[in-house]
């Protein structure tokens, strides 16, 4: 056996080798270090502060009291139970609607299927908070427009109500909002499986003497099950983290979920209790991490199924006969609830001095004055600049960080790349409200409070970058894996360094994915709600903060006008996103 002495280099040369590696990967190491700082510091600080008494800026020493008092509060268990209940039922509703539509749109002869495919994406352009506000205007028990209509209809048959009959400020209301809200995402997650499923599997069942129904139950559905299950888990996780509807609808009705409980404890109640908030935050985070581990299990399992291949099949269309129009009717109903009704009532309100029940007699009152007022208020103009800044900076930083980190992960240039991959997935498990709380803790407590970024735009950007980095890296991971490594190696051999190769070869090659990710982050930053609300101060007012402040002060009209403008901005951005996504899928 050949014994090679130089295979065991001495200490000095080993150090030299390590230095070479570091020098060649400065960019990846630097970006990873910043990310670790951005993610780890707040999380660790949140955990530390849950054991500390007093205001974060003037800590009063270690204690377990926060945990004792948090876990002995009935409202904590109530909020936890409510959160789980709303998320479970809401997810069930979402799944039922989304899977039904995925099947109807992809695999049946429902009328206007292609139009439905486009329309079902529109809800993405409506921020959750506006969706919730729209529905409170429609279904508020006393003055809700839809409730008025229902009362008049019931009056005809002789039943009269003082108020109602529907109260949106209820558990049912929250479940309804949550259920309808999640449909677009789940639809997008499962529709691919319905499209890609090899039709020969179903044909084989038919040839083996199974009927239409038998085929669906015994072959189609089981084959779809992993995808449906994964989408369900994902939807459940999103519902757990949901903040907007619980804030707009739950709080007025006295219904707390975990996210609003944290918000209430650290931003509303007097005196604010950060220690308690930190315990809620830590608990919430742990629950979400457990859920996410479960989610990853489900996904890993679902990847074992090879029924869904990448081949371009012409899906087999099932004829549903006389159910065609009822099916289409269901879709119309969904679209009315998800988009048309809330948007119309917001638009209506935005043209009135204050909210009025829609009727012909109010028409003379219609006015542009709300919009005029918005455009003349300096605060609003300031807000617009801040929001634009937030959007551009967040999207650019997130995607650049994601690109560099993913490159390090996929190409495994740096030791510990697998560890990094897991690490950047953690923020996915942390609800926005907890990220924001953790940032407050980190940058209010010494020593980081001396940086003075609490209450600035910077802290907002940090919060959003952390919450979108998981999405960004996952998108970039798969994009970089598509790029043959030899294309990069050819650049090294041609004399280019790492940095140069990354930006002249790799980035241009995956530009469609990068652009899609950028727009996705931009859209989400634009309409981001929980993080800005938590981190709001005078100097970092963005869209969500002003919208909520107007609403909270009772100025539904100004709030609606602001909301309508936002939707008008978001619609074209969403369409642009769809274009880039199509481009990526065509490339592959």
């Amino acid at each position: 056996m050949y014994v090679d002495q130089s295979a065991r280099p001495g200490l000095m040369s080993r150090l030299g080798g390590a230095w070479d590696r570091i020098r060649n990967n400065v960019l990846v190491i630097g970006v990873s270090a910043v990310l670790v700082f951005l993610i780890l510091v707040p999380v660790v600080r949140l955990i530390i502060n849950s054991f500390i008494e007093g205001h974060p800026s003037v800590p009063e020493g270690w204690t377990l009291n926060n945990y004792v008092s948090a876990y002995s509060m009935p409202i904590f268990y109530e909020a936890l139970a409510t959160t789980l209940w709303i998320s479970s039922i809401g997810t069930f509703v979402t799944l039922a609607i989304a899977v039904l539509f995925a099947w109807l749109i992809e695999r049946t002869d429902m009328p206007f299927r292609n139009m439905a495919w486009v329309l079902i994406l529109v809800p993405m352009a409506i921020p959750g908070v506006l969706f919730a506000l729209g529905w409170t205007l429609l279904l508020s028990p006393k003055v809700g427009a839809l409730n008025m209509l229902l009362r008049e209809i019931f009056a005809i048959v002789g039943i009269t109500f003082e108020k109602g009959p529907i109260n949106i400020y209820s558990l049912g209301g929250l479940i309804f909002l949550d259920g309808v809200r999640g449909v677009t995402t789940v639809f997008l997650m499962v529709v691919g499986s319905f499209r890609m499923m090899d039709p020969s599997l179903e044909e084989a069942a038919r040839v083996s003497k199974a009927g239409t129904f038998g085929t669906f139950m015994q072959v189609t559905l089981p084959a779809m099950l992993p995808a449906v299950l994964a989408a369900g888990m994902y939807s459940f996780i999103s519902s757990m983290e949901s903040f907007e509807a619980p804030l707009a609808v739950g709080l007025p009705g006295g219904i707390f979920v975990l996210s609003t409980l944290i918000y209430f404890t650290t931003r509303i109640q007097a005196p604010l209790d950060y220690g308690l908030g930190a315990v809620f935050g830590v608990t919430f985070m742990l629950i979400m991490i457990l859920l996410l581990i479960g989610y990853r299990r489900v996904i890993r399992h679902s990847e074992k199924y090879a029924t869904v291949t990448g081949k371009g099949f012409r899906p087999r269309v099932t004829t549903i006969g006389r159910w065609r129009w009822p099916a289409f009717g269901m879709f119309v109903l969904y679209f009315l609830a998800a988009v048309v009704a809330p948007f119309i009532i917001l638009a209506w309100t935005s043209f009135l001095p204050g909210y009025r029940i829609p009727s012909v007699s109010v028409f003379p009152l219609l006015t542009w004055s709300n919009y005029v007022e918005l455009f003349e208020t300096e605060r609003v103009l300031n807000m617009v600049w801040n929001t634009l800044y937030l959007m551009l900076v967040t999207a650019t930083i997130t995607m650049l960080f994601a690109f560099v980190t993913s490159w390090g992960i996929v190409r495994s240039q740096v030791r510990g790349a697998g560890w990094l991959d897991t690490f950047v997935f953690i923020p996915h498990a942390i609800p926005g409200i907890v990220i924001a709380l953790a940032l407050i803790m980190a940058y209010l407590s010494p020593p980081l409070r001396y940086l003075g970024i609490y209450g600035s735009m910077t802290i907002l950007v940090m919060g959003l970058v952390v919450s979108y980095i998981s999405f960004g890296t996952r998108l970039m991971n798969s994009a970089i894996m598509q790029i043959q490594e030899e294309l990069e190696q050819a650049a090294y051999v041609a004399g280019a360094g790492t940095m140069r190769t990354l930006f002249t070869i790799t980035l241009p090659l995956l530009f469609p994915a990068f652009a899609a990710g950028w727009i996705w982050v931009a859209v989400h930053a634009l309409r981001s709600f929980s993080i800005p609300i938590m981190l709001a101060s005078r100097d970092n007012e963005v869209f969500a903060i002003l919208l909520w402040e107007y609403w909270d002060e009772g100025s539904a009209s100004l709030s609606s006008a602001l909301g309508v403008l936002m939707i008008l901005v978001l619609v074209p951005m969403t369409l642009l996103l769809r274009r880039f996504i199509t481009q990526i899928s065509e490339q592959r």
Partner: protein, 364 residues
């Protein structure tokens, strides 16, 4: 520049544990030489080339290009600082650039910067060299495999590197094109006088192009030599069978005189052949005979000193320039190359004759 590889070691950590990819590789490529690493897939030839390119970091040993140690003692110079040009198996032509920009890329880097009027000139000159000057402005996705290959070659040569590394560059082309480019690459490298390392699993390529060949297997070099050496004087059965076709006969040494031909008994007969030094009577040996050295006749040749065995035709495949004939000799399948005009019938008995000089004997 001369390239020296010393005791190169490379390990991979895989699921099954540590795999030794390179187990002490040693060779030198002289200035201007066309040197080929030949071996089956997984033998470590590409890993060796990639270590020289700087794309892999060796775990031990040294690589010296010219006077400079580019890898050794745990350190490894990154590829962009080595005086090399390389052509990848997949060509790795950047799809978002035109032909011109692909080739101009190396001249835009710090180490090999060339300012513009001269850069354009150099690029066009190099494209001319590979006969691609007409397609300079074409986007690369619209190129055929052969054209991509030429662009890749131009890109590797444009910065006038000292060493050209070619990693199975012809394996993705069809047979006709492969033959054409084989000759072109050989001519080009000879004209430029560039030191070239070529990696391939195709023995015909290796024989046709190389000044010297190293046959590799399982992370080691088995034999190094000129194409003629490798083909005519293989040192192991593996080399004999990997380079060209060969028939093996196992047998025992029957006569081992101090000088002259010995005799090997293979059961179905006995062969006169030259024995390796130190072979004694009774030693087990393998006698290798290439099919093209066997002549098949219907009647037994009675020429003196010629080895003859008898076989039954099991299969005869007409190849155009010859007939590839498989015969059963004492239960063993033997291949022979027979004249194209021979009219062979299955089951026919033939006599295969070959000269003692055509035999290579390996000791077991």
């Amino acid at each position: 520049m001369k390239v020296s590889v010393r005791r190169l070691v490379k390990n991979y950590d895989s699921v099954q544990g540590r795999v030794v990819a390179l187990d002490g590789i040693d060779f030198d490529i002289e200035v201007g030489e066309f040197y080929t690493l030949l071996g089956p897939s997984g033998c470590g030839k590409s890993t060796t080339l990639r270590c020289i390119a700087g794309l892999e970091h060796p775990d031990g040993g040294e690589i010296i290009i010219g006077e400079k140690t580019v890898a050794g003692k745990g350190r490894s110079l990154p590829p962009n600082l080595r005086p090399i040009g390389m052509v990848f198996q997949s060509y790795a032509i950047w799809p978002h650039m035109t032909v011109f920009n692909n080739v101009a890329f190396p001249l835009k880097q710090v180490k090999s910067w060339v300012p513009n009027p001269e850069r354009t000139e150099r690029v066009m000159e190099t494209l001319k060299l590979v006969k691609m000057e007409a397609l300079a402005d074409r986007p690369t996705p619209f190129l055929s495999g052969g054209q991509q290959q030429r662009v890749a070659l131009a890109r590797a040569l444009v910065s006038r590197p000292e060493v050209l590394l070619l990693d199975e560059p012809l394996s993705n082309l069809d047979a006709k094109l492969r033959e054409e480019l084989r000759i072109e690459i050989k001519q080009l490298t000879r004209e430029l006088g560039i030191t070239t390392l070529y990696v391939t699993h195709d023995q015909l390529e290796a024989l046709a192009m190389s000044d010297r060949i190293a046959v590799m297997r399982e992370g080691r070099i088995l034999q190094e030599g000129t194409p003629r050496d490798i083909y005519l004087r293989p040192q192991t059965p593996f080399v004999a069978q990997f380079v060209g076709q060969v028939n093996f006969f196992q047998g025992g040494v029957a006569e081992a005189p101090a000088s002259g031909m010995g005799k090997v008994d293979i059961g179905a007969g006995s062969f006169a052949c030259a024995l390796p030094q130190g072979t004694g009577i009774g030693d087990r040996v393998i006698v290798a005979v290439r099919p093209e050295n066997m002549s098949a006749t219907r009647t037994r040749s009675d020429e003196n000193g010629v080895n003859v065995i008898q076989g039954v035709v099991e299969q005869a495949v007409f190849l155009g320039d010859s007939i590839d004939c498989q015969l059963s000799v004492d239960g063993q399948m033997i291949r022979a190359k027979v004249e194209q005009t021979a009219d062979l019938g299955l089951g026919e008995t033939l006599y295969l004759a070959f000269r003692p000089e055509a035999c290579t004997v390996f000791r077991l």
